[in-house]
């Protein structure tokens, strides 16, 4: 009996039952056995270990047929095999029931067992997979479903339908769902990717689901530039009508907060509103981009990504590195040059602050992963240990990239707080699985030979900053877009992958092309976006924008960031926060690092800057935020201080109406409505103490969503 598999291994496929490599292993992945949470975890589960998603079938053959004295398979009575009993829950199974009678998968396993559990390598290898349809599919309520077939091509020229063995997934289950047989079903208006994996091969296609035409008659606001044309094209496909322009009041508050991080002062609002120049919005954006607050505010965003804090780079390092960032934004340093300076930095971190890049990236793995995440929008860390399940990046690619950074060296010198980054001229990285040294590798190029001039990183940086590089520009314009619009075209912004497609690919491509062909000019991109109707649209939605969170049909209201909020409270009360050890007048949106330990900022999600992930900045509302605003000492003290705006106004002989007017301008950049004036007048008249009454008004204003949010 034991000899049979070996003998049969030489016979043709139909005699040995299902192929272990081409059917059993993909099946175990499809039904979840070899997933990372189950037996595919590094230590397996309950003593049974499979390679993650079947990447190592040879090892899996061993664990299935040999380990535990072979009791997982019973060739004589297949149904007594643990391989059948466990997933059918005939014996206790922590993973629950994954197979039931009648399942295709069950039949495969039974046949494989009955035919003697051959683990012979198939004669013809799989060379690729394809869908049986075009790369994009349109669905609508009257045509809501489609069955996708996946075909695998083998080295002997044959092709087979592997749909029942392939793993399907949807990038957005709200838009389109897919079941195990490849049946896709439209669920909601939108655009999503369906990815499929079979063995190590994957593909994805786009599915658009939209109701049948209903918006032809609706009035569409005019596009103001290229951005709007591309946004509208996508919205038309999805039958969503965009919102019109926001008011000047909304625009001035929005533009100040987005471009320089601060609320406009009441004077600034009053200067802007009455202007009749049709170009006044465009001019305001230009003025804001020239201000030093612009550079400081955008340096703060990059400080988060580059982990600028004293624990990472020391106190002196914080000042120098933050200064370098501010200068880069103030001089509008081209982004390719900015990237080069960071990635090729060497020398003392005190004299060449960009070298701190390799101080925060403490080793070769960290430098590889950080660089991929920040500049390529790729979260590569999974590939350190295994191939990405649905993606093109492999473990080999990881080490190919890492080889560029392997020779970066770090040493201390006599100056306290300094670290010297230097490049060794030798040293190879070994692949953990093969133990062999890995050559530096680039997508589309392959292995890279070392050049005579030494610095290995140069080849990587030349490739990354080349005009035709697909990553650098797209990732940066997407980041800028997300800062301004509140959501990336690719979201999360550092997770570019085929199974996470851009919500508007043409828009992303246009922005990236424009960025590349105009010298990687970040201010230009900011102008392009902020001068669009899309950016300037109202936050109000209509019934024709059902649940659009991704396609930019309206402005996406969002909470102010921790720093913006603290500055806004300071500006509203005329009591800006002082930060010990920093120059007078430094705003929270201009802090070089989070080292000041502000309870308020922490509560509102200021990141500690321990990772290069944008997601470290918490944007979720929490209870402590609510308590800080409603009952916190900082807010209370600023509202009730005798030096603050409310005291000044109440004691300044100003009328109730004038005070209300100014408070509204300071908080919301708009005048109060008649009804609001009335509400406040009634409130004031009921209170004995006018000062207390206006403190209450101040409290209510800054606790309102109109203050807390950008809209």
């Amino acid at each position: 009996m034991w000899l049979i598999p070996c003998l049969l291994g030489h016979l043709n496929a139909s005699d040995i039952g299902p192929s272990f490599f081409h059917e059993v292993v993909p099946l175990l992945s499809k039904i979840g056995c070899s997933s990372g949470a189950c037996h595919g975890s590094p230590n397996g589960k309950n003593g049974f270990r499979l390679s993650l998603r079947g990447y190592d079938p040879v090892a899996d053959a061993q664990s299935l047929t040999r380990d535990e004295l072979g009791r997982r398979v019973n060739k004589i009575s297949p149904d007594l095999s643990l391989l059948i009993q466990k997933p059918m829950m005939r014996v206790p199974h922590g993973g629950g029931q994954q197979l039931k009678n009648g399942d295709y998968g069950l039949e495969i396993l039974r046949r494989w067992l009955r035919h003697g559990c051959s683990t012979a390598e198939p004669a013809a290898a799989c060379v690729g997979i394809r869908f049986n349809c075009a790369d994009s599919v349109m669905l609508s309520p009257t045509d809501a479903s489609r069955r996708l077939e996946v075909w695998a091509k083998f080295s002997d020229g044959t092709e087979r339908d592997v749909s029942k063995l392939a793993v399907f997934s949807s990038s957005d289950l709200g838009v389109v769902a897919v079941d195990g047989d490849g049946q896709v079903i439209g669920k909601g208006r939108g655009h999503a990717a369906i990815s499929v994996r079979y063995l190590e091969f994957w593909r994805s296609l786009f599915v658009t689901y939209a109701p049948n035409g209903t918006t032809q008659q609706a009035t569409w606001p005019n596009p103001m530039n290229q951005v709007d044309e591309l946004v509208d094209r996508q919205l038309a496909r999805l039958q969503v009508v965009p919102s019109g322009l926001c008011s000047d009041e909304q625009f001035v508050r929005r533009a100040y907060l987005d471009v320089i991080g601060l609320l406009p002062s009441t004077d600034e609002v009053q200067q802007f509103l009455p202007r009749t120049d049709p170009q006044k919005r465009e001019k305001l954006i230009d003025e804001l981009l020239k201000r030093e607050e612009y550079a400081k505010f955008w340096a703060l965003k990059w400080g988060d990504l580059l982990r600028v804090n004293s624990q990472q780079v020391g106190n002196a390092g914080v000042q120098k590195y933050a200064r370098w960032l501010v200068d880069s934004f103030a001089t509008n340093k081209p982004y390719d040059q900015f990237t080069r300076e960071l990635l090729l930095a060497q020398g003392s971190t005190l004299t060449s602050p960009a070298a701190n890049y390799y101080r925060t990236a403490t080793d070769v793995n960290n430098a590889t992963e950080s660089t991929a995440q920040i500049f390529m929008g790729v979260r590569l860390e999974c590939c350190k240990c295994h191939n990405h399940p649905m993606e093109k990046w492999t473990q080999n690619n990881y080490y190919g990239f890492a080889a560029f950074f392997n020779r970066v060296q770090r040493k201390t010198n006599r100056r306290s707080g300094d670290l010297v980054i230097w490049m060794a001229d030798s040293g190879e990285l070994n692949h953990p699985r093969t133990g062999r040294s890995v050559a530096p590798w680039l997508p589309g190029i392959g292995d890279v030979q070392d050049r005579s001039d030494g610095d290995r990183r140069a080849a990587f940086v030349d490739w990354l900053t080349a005009k035709n590089n697909e990553f650098l520009a797209a990732v940066e314009v997407n980041r800028i877009w997300s800062h301004l619009v509140g959501r990336g075209i690719v979201e999360p912004i550092d997770d570019f992958r085929d199974s996470n497609p851009p919500s508007n690919p043409e828009l992303l491509a246009m922005l990236a092309d424009d960025f590349r062909s105009h010298g990687f000019d970040r201010k230009r991109t900011i102008r392009l976006i902020t001068n669009s109707r899309t950016y300037q649209s109202a936050s109000q939605t209509s019934h024709q924008q059902p649940a659009d969170e991704k396609y930019f049909s309206h402005y996406r209201s969002r909470l102010l960031t921790a720093e913006q909020l603290l500055d806004a409270i300071g500006s509203f009360t005329e009591l800006p926060e002082h930060f010990r050890g920093l120059p007078e007048g430094t705003r929270a949106t201009q802090l070089p690092s989070p080292d000041i330990n502000s309870e308020f900022l922490e509560a509102f999600g200021q990141p500690k800057r321990e990772t290069v992930c944008q997601c470290e900045r918490m944007v979720e509302a929490t209870l402590s935020q609510a308590l800080q605003m409603a009952n916190g000492k900082l807010v209370h003290d600023k509202l009730s201080s005798a030096d603050g705006r409310i005291h000044r106004l109440v004691n300044g002989g100003t009328s109730d109406q004038q005070i209300t007017h100014e408070l509204y301008m300071a908080a919301y950049s708009r005048k109060p409505s008649e009804r609001e004036l009335q509400t406040i007048q009634i409130h004031i008249s009921k209170q004995a103490n006018r000062l207390i009454a206006f403190q209450d008004v101040g409290w209510a204003l800054i606790n309102s969503n109109e203050f807390l949010m950008q809209h």
Partner: protein
Amino acid sequence: MLDTKDLNASTETTSLVRLPPLLAQRDVLRVGGISVAATLIPQSCRLHAAGSIGTVDRSGPGKAKSVIFLWMGGGVTHIDSFDPKPQAPSEVRGSLEDIATNVPGIRFCETLPKLASVTDKLAVLRSFSHDSDDHLLSQVYTLSGRRINRLQLFSEPNIGSVVWRTHGPRSGLPGYIAVPGVTRPGPPPHNLFVGGWLGSKYAPYCLGGLPEQPDFSVGEKLYDPPAKYEEELRPQSLSLSPDVSLSRLSNRQALRDAFDQALRTVERQDQFQAAEAQFQNGLRLLHTPEVRQAFEVGDEPSSVRENYGRTKIGGRCLTARRLVEAGARFVMVDYGYDPDYGNIWDNHNAPVQNHPPIQQMVFRGYHLAGMDRAFAALISDLSSRGLLETTLVVFVTEFGRTPTINKLGGRDHWGRAGSLFFAGAGIKTGQVVGQTDRTASRPLTRPYGPWDVAATIYHLMGINHEDFTADFQDRPRPILDEGAIIRELLA
């Protein structure tokens, strides 16, 4: 993907169902009368199949509804408390005697007379052991249940954070509350009460107390300090300023609601709704008498106060009981590093510490004597209120102390052996688990580490420690990297 219908279907046969991420963020759902804990499908699992994955959790629903985690940072001496060695040489044993407890055969050190009278309600673990003598590492070991390195001091979530993430808040109270959450080991002072990779929103809600208050333990070290030195444990964030009464707060709220009419159109957006929900939650906390009342230990009858002791540790334990009674899910009593006094449990007796010899110090109200009184009162109080059946009480310290008393009359760090206790829901009490050698230097029985303690707590809270949760980047993370349920402790 599960929709609600699927969820109903799958809960008929399973008690714990993995939910899709959107649902998992929310509180425990009640579906058809069965509590569905919001564990998560890890990313890897979600990617693998489009169909629903209803996985049974082997541990089933937890026996404990609440946890009181008595976290004594600094390293409580085990020989002078739960693991006396009357037969050991005098440099180990010192001057203290052992005493009988109310369970025949179990003896404690004479420092714990009150706990000795409730030993039938305790399960003492004498084989607590791990590989570190370092405060910070072992404190994070015990807080997180993970064997971390120095770079992970702040990156791993506390046990309470995982419980909060999994089960959500309850009764309007945050899912993990630290009383008072001020312990800051160092130098420099470090805050180890973190949500780590779960995100800062899962860091414990710390009552904080008042940092400037005078301390009863400075000056005359009284066993029973006078009431005027009681610790203020009302959280500052819930204490209204003298000039803001509740009625003024209501006025303000009414005004705010009127203002917000203008923005009604954005209400549909998720972030807006979440922020609004938290705001209402916060104001409810401020307004709800029952919740605010939970912090008013002053409302307790004087006799109850005396039972716990009018000490910091007494007040904290009493607050913990009041919080659990008000519905809190995971409460940590944090005691050890005192802003006024320094390191209470870390009795090296280095000259700068200015401690009396450890075996005298143990009788002071802020040391073992106060702990004995407070813990015993907590156990009895929970028991008489019927709360002990649903509340798991765990006494944890990061390590024991050196068997041999040092030249200065103190004891140093000792990761190899220490004593903890468990009580309440799901625990087989009136027993000692594990045994150390004749000098209490190392376990003779199977050693149990902080990961085993954490696995046991998770198990009793209905969380399978071998499961995965998701971090703030939505990547799968194992609940624990290692560890096993300490079966001997279970009823």
